[in-house]
Symmetry: C2
Subunit: 319 residues, 2 copies
């Protein structure tokens, strides 16, 4: 492939932290059960590609997310995170934190909802009750010397409530910040954000923009445009998933994360450094597609990965 | 589906002209030969959805693009364009213009390359020779009272030359404008534009921004982010193809146009009016996917179209 050059544009950061969520948020939404050994290889390949923040798994109740029931075995097989690499684990409550501590984890991620309905459905608590519980877990994690990342779900729309009030997102983000979260990720859990709602939420925030990450799903194809707007408004940490894990290119429930490769393609051509190698990511996601037996929803992976790497892919109509 | 609300953001136009290229640029890149009757229905459905600019076909030599060999029959079956609707036809040369005139067409589109190599490969002429020939065709069309649209191919990258000089794009755009083109579409023929190169080209242009359209392919997932940047820089006409026609979601050659539905989802949620009905477009593209026997690469079509409308789609891994 020829070089198409690097063309920076004004008002964007020089460097972006890419926070890789494929192994946790991605796999959590894949129906095909992935063997622990494949997850180990996935995480190792993500780190080898240059990622310095790889969320590995979650200590939720196994019956809720069977895909992540092997969290302890996975962490044991992975061993300690290499120097300079964060390997956070999602924990829903105190019991999850205890399991994470027993596994020797150095960073946990906690999550809150920006809507009352999702708090009650996902956490079986009111929004304020869930914030109180989360503050307890985060405080306990900080007391043990752990770093804490906070997620806010449904920041830009909720399947039951529709539009979400940016002031509520701001309040939840502040609660996470006050609880000791050093990075707060604004989640578009159902992929309905558009650039206007992204700007509205960012404008409403009280927490410092340096502590903010954005987390877009590509359900309606908006993830990368939303990311660009967030970068224009000072955000410099972006969540993405290798190969858009968690989505399927031709399913009604195609709710995958922004694909890391599509993000890297944009950032690198804008002269924004990430430290992550695009070719290594494409190879990793093409390999992962064969493990899942279906093509990646990432445009870049499909454009660059030799089809021979994806034997399970349906025969294309195009040559 | 609940309403996620409209959230405008500053610095964008109130209204965008969507120029629908699915029937021509889209089908031209589809290997499955589509019967004329299906094309008639496609164009009629596009107009019924509210499109006011539908490029219908091309008078190229049939042996070059067998898919469009039925241009005259298609136009005959369609009859005159309804009031207020543009139905341009692409013409590569004087002979194509004569055939378009014989078919009663009221607008033609002509094309030039922004690179010397593509001009020689696609048109068998030097860049300057092709501009001279195109000026002749455009002048003849204007003399017959026809409107003229001009395309510039390879504006943001060329598979042989790599990066493209924005000054050359500007020169070609000016030549098209001087030749009487009232709308000049900047084509990212191979999908390698990123926001920086989009801004660089728009900044280099001499022609008025009101006469500029952008035409992005989604090969690397950048089309909608590029479109957003173009809107931020004053562009208010965007080319797109129903369902991302011309691309395949899992082929190496997935060089489809920006999907009209993904564009409309963004614009409408930003409070930007287009006059085009999103639901009607989703239904049209789901129907067209069954005609082609494969799923649409549009994220919005796949998220919203009932899978029952797409019996030829592979069984999803996800429920």
């Amino acid at each position: 492939m020829p070089e198409y050059g690097i063309t920076p544009t004004t008002g964007l950061p020089d460097r972006v932290r890419v926070y890789e969520v494929g192994a946790r948020d991605g796999l959590q939404n894949e129906k095909t059960l992935v063997p622990t050994a494949v997850k180990v290889e996935l995480v190792q390949r993500l780190v080898a590609a240059g990622h310095t923040a790889v969320e590995t798994t979650s200590f939720v109740r196994p019956e809720w997310v069977p895909q992540l029931a092997d969290a302890a075995e996975l962490l044991d097989a992975l061993g300690p995170a290499p120097d300079g690499v964060r390997m956070p684990v999602l924990v829903p409550n105190r019991r999850g934190l205890d399991r994470a501590l027993a596994a020797g984890v150095r960073e946990v991620a906690v999550f809150a909802s920006a809507t009352e309905t999702f708090a009650r459905r996902n956490l079986n608590r009111s929004l304020d009750e869930s914030l109180a519980a989360l503050t307890e877990v985060a405080t306990a994690a900080r007391a043990e010397g752990l770093a804490v990342r906070g997620y806010v779900s449904m920041c830009f729309g909720d399947p039951w409530e529709g539009a979400v009030d940016p002031a509520v997102v701001a309040r939840v983000a502040t609660a996470l910040h006050d609880a000791g979260a050093s990075e707060i990720s604004l989640g578009d859990t159902i992929g309905v954000a558009t650039p206007g709602s992204v700007v509205a939420v960012l404008d409403a925030l009280v927490v410092p923009v340096d502590a903010v990450a954005v987390h877009f799903h590509d359900t309606y194809g908006q993830a990368l445009a939303n990311t660009l707007v967030a970068l224009q408004h000072g955000v410099s940490c972006v969540d993405s998933a290798a190969g858009g894990l968690g989505g399927c290119p031709y399913a009604e429930s195609a709710t995958g994360n922004l694909a890391t490769e599509d993000l890297l393609w944009q950032l690198h051509h804008l002269g924004i450094s990430t430290g992550v190698d695009l070719d290594a990511m494409v190879a990793t996601s093409a390999w992962m597609a064969t493990q899942l037996g279906r093509p990646s929803p990432s445009r870049v992976v499909n454009a660059l990965a030799p089809p021979a790497l994806s034997p399970a892919v349906p025969t294309p109509q195009e040559s």
